[in-house]
């Protein structure tokens, strides 16, 4: 669990306004502890993914929610498969 300041320090190309916008959009969902936002490892890696989508893959502001939504659905399915004891990458 790290704070917003630490998170911004970890990624040099992350601007705090962008992060706040992503939080407002629900792309990143930190928890609130004693009035402060705290980010889990999952949140941190998600921020990294969004940065890579934006900066390395040129996914723009409009396309970002579409990509995230598809990814969320993909991982949702993979979690379900795993919960059912199916290893998603093994071919039958």
């Amino acid at each position: 669990m790290i704070t917003l300041d630490l998170l911004c320090a970890r990624f040099s190309r992350l601007r705090v306004e962008d992060l706040q916008a992503w939080i407002a959009e629900g792309h990143v969902r930190p928890e609130r502890a004693a009035g402060d936002l705290v980010f889990s490892d999952l949140d941190v890696e998600r921020v990294r993914l969004i940065l890579e989508l934006r900066d390395d893959m040129a996914v723009n502001e409009e396309a970002l929610p579409v990509v995230l939504s598809l990814l969320d659905q993909l991982y949702e399915l993979r979690r379900r498969l795993r919960a059912m004891g199916v290893e998603p990458d093994l071919r039958a």
């Binding site: 629900g26 999952l42 890696e45 890579e52 990814l71 979690r79 998603p88 990458d89």
Partner: protein, 306 residues
């Protein structure tokens, strides 16, 4: 030793910064491990591509590499694709698939549970076919009287759809066994037919009653008499009483929506409207000389509210 970074990115040795960036973007989109969780080989590809980009996108490092001062290895490997490792854990459900802006994990739970349940059944035994949805336009009077419509399916089959009297737009009829074929000897699915009842130029529906505005002549209104009225089941002779003024309602019992099962038929309610039309000389002459026995002011008591 890592492969030649120029080869990895597929660019010539004299490629411009833009060409390198474009080539990197293209490959990153293709091989990013978080976008390819089912392909372990994508991760290695992406790492190689990232390392090559890191080397070639930095003019200083690129120059040193070109001069042979450093080799393609030894670059800091950036962690990439680690979102995947977290997202696939149960705690990853925090970013579950969602509709709109709010997480609605329960909805998807049900959805997926359903899908997997169906699949499980398909694997183990007979499975019912899929339900297929269609829309069917129904003429107003067919919805009033009941009718049999023909629905042509996309595959060319046609279904005979019995429309009971009194159906409304949005109502769904289920034809058992007319949907997708079953598997492993399972029964076929159902055809779900959503009805779309058209409006009518004369009749207006209210519950199981119908309304019709009936124009009458001055003579019919004053003297009464027989008039022919269109009804859903055909023209009907209706006797108007004397003094049938505009606005008067006449109820024709059982001439509305046809009876169905235990439900009785609705009524047809006529609302009269006197139509004077072009008055001839005789009528004008009569009215000029006419002295009503009991003069009335139809606007009595009508005052504009403040």
């Amino acid at each position: 030793m890592a492969e030649d970074p120029y080869k990895t990115l597929g660019v010539p040795r004299d490629a411009s910064t833009e060409t390198i960036r474009a080539a990197y973007r293209k490959l990153a989109r293709k091989h990013h491990p978080d976008l390819n969780p089912g392909k372990p080989e994508a991760e290695a590809k992406f790492k190689a591509v990232s390392a090559a980009n890191e080397l070639l996108s930095d003019p200083e490092k690129r120059a040193r590499f070109d001069r042979g001062e450093i080799d393609a290895d030894g670059q800091e490997q950036r962690p990439a694709g680690s979102y995947r490792q977290y997202a696939e854990q149960p705690t990853g459900a925090k970013y579950g698939a969602r509709t709109g802006q709010r997480p609605e994990a329960e909805v998807f739970d049900d959805l997926f549970a359903d899908i997997f349940e169906q699949r499980r059944r398909a694997e183990s035994g007979p499975r019912k076919g899929r339900d297929e949805s269609y829309r069917l336009a129904v003429p107003f009077l067919h919805a009033v009287e009941g009718a049999t419509e023909t629905l042509t399916l996309p595959d060319g089959r046609s279904l005979s759809v019995k429309i009971p009297p009194g159906v409304e737009t949005g109502q769904v009829l289920r034809l058992r066994g007319q949907g997708g074929p079953g598997r492993n000897g399972g029964p076929a699915g159902d055809a779900l037919i959503e009805l779309d009842v058209a409006e009518h130029s004369l009749f207006r529906r209210e519950g199981f009653n119908l309304h019709l505005e009936l124009p009458v002549t001055l003579r019919e209104a004053v003297l009464g008499g027989h008039v022919l009225v269109p009804t859903p089941s055909g023209p009907l002779r209706v006797s108007l009483p004397e003094g049938s003024d505009t606005g008067r309602q006449i109820r024709l019992r059982g001439r509305g929506i046809a009876a169905h099962g235990k439900r009785e038929a609705g009524d047809l309610l006529l609302t009269l409207r006197v139509v004077i039309g072009a008055a001839d000389e005789a009528l004008k002459a009569f009215l000029r000389d006419w002295k009503p026995e009991d003069p009335q002011d139809p606007r009595a008591g009508m005052e504009a509210a403040p």
